[in-house]
């Protein structure tokens, strides 16, 4: 072996690096941005136009920024809920299905009572949606606790079931009688819509609810004993067992919280920018929120930032689609490369690169 061959090696750190923990998402963001701009250059797109439309415009143009806020709401809600479960090592991958069921539960009210009036309607819908989402997640919890069925598979498969439930309702009992047989419900009445908070935009009060619940999540995860028990249960299940923390309870709690948040987000979506129940109520919020949760380091405050970043990527991507002639798939590539870069960066929280010289007599 020649001495010129020095291979870097991953060596476990004595303790996780706090610097890297905070730097990792930023590094990932920079790496993903550069990588994708390079990709656009190879595709023959004008990188300045893409950069402007994708990165700057979501923040400097108010109409664009208001759309970022609109998109932040559901991502923030779902990701906060999921993160609680993920920290307890309960992997709810089915937020998409819980989102859909939440939207369905919320829609029941305006679909059945399209003439009802009163400002009680939209809050009731949000509550109904949250309960619906929690119930749907409860199915996963039941099978996990009772039969030890893998919650990843059960929750993921239940998302497909939820999509079919939605299809059934829209093609059958809930189809708008005046909608030319198209699979969508009636347009909701005024009182079934969450009030707008910024005039001239589509941003509604559900964003405030999401922010308030993020604060609740912070208190729950970082300050409360129940949150602590959940996390210990995830990190050291046997130790948690000796301490008398029930694993079953942790699973139920994790999934119910995740389902509650996703269901609420689904309700806010149909009672917000959509205004009716239709097939394409979610553009993959339930899955995008998984990226958001991890990208935010599974920390309630981190998720607050990561949800804005993710929303900005969506809006920026749409802008680039319209203004810079970028295909829609490019946005998904951006999201994917962001998660990939982040997962790679997080390796260095627990490991460090060491350039080892193969010196004889010294054990590596």
């Amino acid at each position: 072996m020649s001495a010129a061959l020095i291979w870097p090696k991953l060596v476990k750190r004595e303790r996780p690096s706090l610097t890297i923990t905070i730097l990792a998402p930023l590094l990932a963001l920079v790496a993903a941005t550069l990588l994708n701009l390079l990709l656009y250059l190879i595709m023959g797109k004008d990188p300045v136009a893409v950069f402007h439309a994708m990165i700057l415009e979501p923040f400097i143009s108010f109409p664009s920024f208001s759309e970022v806020l609109l998109k932040t709401g559901p991502l923030l809600l779902i990701a906060e809920g999921l993160a609680i479960g993920y920290r307890a090592k309960v992997f709810n991958i089915g937020a998409e299905g819980q989102f859909i069921i939440g939207a369905i539960f919320a829609s029941a009210l305006p679909v059945w009572y399209p003439m009802a009036t009163g400002q009680w309607i939209w809050p009731t819908m949000l509550v109904a949606g949250a309960i619906g989402g929690a119930m749907w997640a409860g199915i996963t919890a039941f099978w996990r606790v009772r039969l030890r069925a893998n919650e990843i598979l059960v929750s993921l498969m239940l998302s497909l079931v939820a999509a079919q439930v939605l299809n059934y309702l829209l093609l059958g009992p809930w189809k708008d009688p005046n909608g030319f047989n198209f699979p969508q419900s009636v347009m909701f009445q005024y009182d079934a819509m969450v009030p707008l908070i910024i005039p001239g935009t589509r941003v509604n009060a559900s964003l405030l609810i999401a922010l308030a619940l993020a604060l609740v999540a912070y208190v729950f995860m970082q300050k409360s004993f129940t949150g602590y028990k959940l996390e210990v249960g995830g990190l050291a299940p046997r130790a948690a067992g000796y301490a008398g923390f029930s694993e079953g309870r942790a699973i139920w709690l994790s999934l119910l919280i995740g389902g509650f948040a996703a269901g609420l987000a689904g309700a806010a979506e149909v009672a917000g920018p959509i205004g009716q129940l239709q097939r394409s109520i979610s553009t993959g919020y339930g899955y995008a929120a998984i990226i958001v949760a991890y990208f935010g380091g599974l920390h309630p405050i981190g998720i607050l930032f990561s949800s804005v970043v993710m929303a900005a990527i969506y809006i920026g991507g749409d802008n680039a689609l319209v203004s810079a002639d970028l295909p829609i798939a490019a946005v998904r590539v951006f999201q994917g490369s962001l998660l990939l870069a982040y997962l790679m960066a997080t390796t260095f929280v627990r490991y460090q690169l060491v350039f080892l010289r193969p010196v004889s007599g010294v054990a590596p």
């Binding site: 030319f180 347009m187 553009t283 203004s323 295909p327």
Partner: protein, 365 residues
């Protein structure tokens, strides 16, 4: 063109000038071309609905050159994202929006209301506003002719259709196909599978396989944007046809023909109207007589005698002396659809929500 230099635009340009210094000359147009944006729900391939719409803008571009700027946005899912993207096209200065799917209706209508200076064309819808026109093709005129050919070639007497959504536009296509087939062979039966998607090649092929397994030997690929069904039928050796643009290259042997659409005369006329300030929202229901619906690439295996009958009927449709929906027509449930001698009017055709007798699959309820 004076339309480009209204007071509002001047103020906007002045505001943008500040941005322009930092961004470059992207906003510094002297004479602004008319921005035309086309939004479609599925990927624009070499064939299909989106392709037909995009291709129809080529003559517009050829006629106006640099006076128009065309932006095509493909693969835009119906829903709140589509609303934002359409809004963004208008915010970017596009004044002519073609919303290429039924599901864009509510969002596109809101844009039309908020932006009276923007003209909107919307595919397959029913809402009309002063600056908002729905447009649809009389596919049924073409599918009636295809039905005649299908019945002449079918050995099993069973025809099938893989269909996207059970909306009136597609229901009328299936009904006319059935009626055309029954005009040749009264005992013919038609089965339908609804895939509930504009774009799901795997599901469409599954549906076609199921129909072939049931004995259907001519398949109508109803509103698919890919050759999924057509190419599968070539492999299976059954005849197939589709709408919008020819897919003959995917089924050289068993391609029955195509009910093609050419939107260019319509788009050109509407852009003309917009530029001269004469755009008026109105429902456009265009067919063989308007040269929007055309039948092409007929299979040579169709007997000459049938082909003769088909071109006779086609000429009558173009002349307005024949409608596929002339009574007596019986509904699938046995009740009367159209009385003997009566002809359905356009209002009834665009709202059709029942199948004719001979269609064996129930409508999704």
């Amino acid at each position: 063109m004076t339309r480009g230099i209204t007071r509002r635009n001047l103020i906007k340009s002045a505001a943008l000038a500040g941005v322009a210094t930092t961004v470059g000359s992207r906003f510094a147009f002297a004479a602004e071309p008319l921005g035309i944006a086309l939004v479609v729900p599925s990927p624009i391939g070499d064939v299909g609905w989106g392709h037909a719409l995009k291709a129809a803008l080529d003559p517009v571009k050829a006629a106006y050159g640099d006076a128009v700027k065309i932006t095509v946005l493909e693969n835009i899912a119906e829903g709140p994202d589509a609303d934002r993207i359409m809004n963004k096209t208008v915010a970017d200065g596009n004044k002519f929006l073609i919303a290429g799917s039924f599901g864009y209706q509510n969002g596109a209508m809101q844009i039309a209301r908020r932006n009276p200076d923007v003209s909107v064309l919307h595919a397959s819808g029913y809402m009309v506003a002063p600056n908002f026109s729905p447009f649809a093709a009389r596919y049924y005129q073409g599918t009636y002719l295809m039905g005649m050919a299908a019945a002449a070639l079918s050995k099993t007497g069973k025809l099938g259709s893989v269909s996207a959504f059970a909306i009136p536009e597609l229901i009328t296509s299936i009904n006319a196909f059935t009626l055309g087939a029954q005009a040749v062979n009264p005992a013919i039966e038609v089965s339908v599978v609804w895939v509930n998607s504009w774009f799901d090649p795997a599901k469409e092929q599954e549906a076609a396989k199921a129909l072939i397994a049931q004995g259907c030997d001519v398949i109508f690929s109803n509103a698919q944007d890919t050759p999924s069904v057509i190419s599968l039928c070539e492999e299976a050796g059954v005849y197939a046809f589709n709408l919008n643009s020819s897919m003959k290259s995917y089924a050289p042997k068993t391609y029955l023909g195509c009910v093609a659409t050419d939107w260019s005369p319509y788009f050109k006329a509407q852009v003309d109207a917009h530029l001269t300030g004469k755009f008026k929202g109105a429902s456009a229901f265009l067919g063989v007589a308007d040269k929007v619906v055309q039948t092409v690439d007929w299979n040579p295996a169709i007997p000459a005698e049938t082909m003769k009958k088909i071109s006779d009927i086609e000429a009558k449709i173009a002349a307005g002396s024949f409608s596929p929906f002339t009574g007596p027509i019986t509904k699938a449930d046995g009740s009367q659809g159209v009385a003997a001698g009566a002809t359905m009017d356009d209002a009834a055709i665009v709202a059709m929500d029942w199948h004719v007798k001979g269609v064996t699959s129930p409508l999704p309820k």
